[in-house]
């Protein structure tokens, strides 16, 4: 059953160290009667920008929470090897519904991850404000979370994760509630930061185009219980999402997400293999 459609023809960052390794992960909420995730094996290497795609309710958020260590898998092992550096967190997460602490102002929400890093109050303040500036909310720093719009809350969640400069950044539909322009600007920022810091990003999205713009590698979750159904390397930048190769790959992904049979790859571009 563990057919994973893979395409490693143009695998980009596969030479780095392994940052995340999942082995035979299974997750159940009811003591093993039904499983959300099952038999998930995954290796992510330093510097990779991986997008996670899959239908609604398949288990994408669950997968991220397992990697972050927030829920213990019912089966299998998770190993994380982020590189330690001063004044940053090894890993950080952007939650699907922001999850701000209602008793902290916007700025102090962003400062959350900076506390305990040995920074002075002023340094924390400056880094938080810089991150808020990045997401366009510097002038809302003193508001309470309840005074923000949905998209604004989501951006605060992004700023909170970016400001700790994590080696491993997990993002759960971080731009889902943003208009195209704000989203485009944040996508650009994210790519810029990733290029500069060479960190590792795992990015859940429901938007195939977004995945194709951002990611070096796209993995697809599908099924009940969900497993890895596809693992694609996306070509080097600059990319043309309208190029026929890209469109064909996108079409294959769409079908995998929909739970249809893989149509097979145009041999010139990729190969599907069983693992």
């Amino acid at each position: 059953m563990n057919t994973v459609v893979t395409d490693k023809a143009e695998m980009v960052a596969s030479t780095g160290d392994v940052v995340v390794r999942l082995e035979n992960i299974g997750l159940s909420h009811d003591h093993g009667r039904t499983f959300i995730l099952r038999h998930v094996d995954l290796e992510i290497r330093r510097g990779e920008f991986v997008a996670v795609l899959g239908p609604s309710g398949v288990g994408k958020s669950t997968l991220l929470r397992v990697i972050m260590g927030l829920i213990r898998p019912s089966e299998g092992t998770v190993s994380l090897h982020p590189s330690p550096t001063a004044a940053h967190r090894p890993a950080a997460m952007v939650f699907q519904d922001a999850k701000l602490m209602p008793w902290r102002s916007v700025r102090r929400n962003v400062e959350l991850g900076l506390e305990g890093l040995g920074l002075t109050r002023l340094q924390r303040h400056e880094r938080a404000m810089a991150a808020l500036d990045l997401v366009g909310l510097a002038d809302m720093a003193d508001r309470w979370p309840r005074q923000l719009s949905g998209g604004q809350r989501q951006r605060v969640g992004v700023a909170r994760a970016l400001t700790v400069e994590p080696d491993l950044l997990l993002m759960d539909e971080p731009f889902g509630a943003l208009d195209a322009i704000t989203r485009g600007a944040l996508q650009d920022e994210l790519l810029r930061i990733h290029a500069r810091r060479q960190g590792t990003v795992l990015f859940v999205t429901h938007d195939l185009d977004e995945a194709l713009v951002l990611a070096d590698r796209i993995i697809i979750l599908e099924g009940h219980p969900a497993g890895l159904r596809g693992d694609f390397a996306v070509g080097a930048r600059p990319r043309d999402n309208t190029a026929p190769g890209m469109r064909a790959m996108a079409e294959r992904m769409r079908r995998l997400i929909a739970g249809e049979e893989d149509p097979g790859a145009d041999a010139a571009y990729w190969q599907a293999s069983e693992i």
Binding site: M68, L70, F95, K99, R104, G113, E115, R146, Q147
Partner: protein
């Protein structure tokens, strides 16, 4: 849930309600609907109060009661809050104490009076003990419940940002998230402590309760009501002071 906007309407309505209450009360006594022995007329309260103030008994009773009140309140609240937070946050401790709590918690503060007399005598220490015990459980449960009710997602957020250890979780999640519940418990305790003050003082420890019992032994219902209202006043003062502090602490609730 349209709140009444004008800042004036509410106090006015409140005053109206009070006027209606006292008016009906006075009228029903004047018209003899209620036998005067059963209830003093509101108009008799002023003179009774003045006399009590002049004799110095009023101030003295307040001073005595406030002493027990404050000591019992502080001791009971601090211990209750801490124990509640810890039990809520540390499953092992919670488990160990669960049996003891089940046995001790239901024993009402007043039932400790015999032991309060035995262990501390009928003075400030005994009264403080009885007050502290009942305040303790209120704060314990408020803090415990508040910690248990914390949205587990918040622990996930804290853990994701490097605050996974117990002390970090305490600081970034448990204390701020449980603050509304803990403060609600403190506030309940503020009221409950007055109940226990009366209870302890009914046994003769000097203070408002003792004075009230003296008055009632003479059927001086006007004095009894004066002291009931005195307690209401003292409570209102402590409660208002508390709410000011609370507002500063919980500004984020808006």
């Amino acid at each position: 849930m349209t709140p009444i906007r004008s800042i004036w309407i509410r106090p006015l309505l409140g005053a109206l309600g009070l006027i209606v209450l006292f008016g009906t009360w006075e009228t029903s006594i004047r018209l003899g609907w209620v036998p005067s022995g059963l209830l003093p007329a509101p108009s008799s309260l002023g003179p009774a109060w003045l006399e009590e103030v002049r004799s110095g008994a009023w101030i003295q009773a307040i001073r005595d009661s406030l002493t027990h009140y404050m000591m019992g309140l502080v001791i009971g609240s601090v211990l209750g809050m801490l124990t509640g937070l810890l039990c809520g946050a540390v499953p092992l401790l919670d488990g160990l104490l669960s049996g003891v709590v089940r046995v001790l918690r239901p024993i009402p503060g007043l039932a400790w009076v015999p032991f309060a007399i035995l262990w501390f005598g009928l003075d400030t220490a005994g009264a403080t003990f009885v007050i502290a015990i009942s305040v303790f459980w209120i704060n314990f449960y408020a803090a415990y419940g508040a910690v248990q009710a914390i949205d587990p997602d918040l622990y996930e957020v804290a853990a994701s940002f490097g605050h996974g250890g117990f002390r970090a979780r305490l600081r970034t999640v448990i204390i701020p998230a449980s603050a509304p519940g803990v403060l609600a418990g403190l506030r309940t305790g503020l009221g409950q402590a007055w109940m226990s003050v009366v209870a302890a003082e009914l046994f003769g420890v000097p203070g408002i309760g003792a004075r009230m019992m003296q008055a009632s032994s003479l059927l001086a219902t006007d004095l009894v009501v004066v002291y009931m209202l005195t307690m209401a006043l003292l409570y209102a003062l402590t409660d208002t002071a508390f709410m000011l502090v609370r507002k500063r602490l919980l500004g984020w609730q808006g």
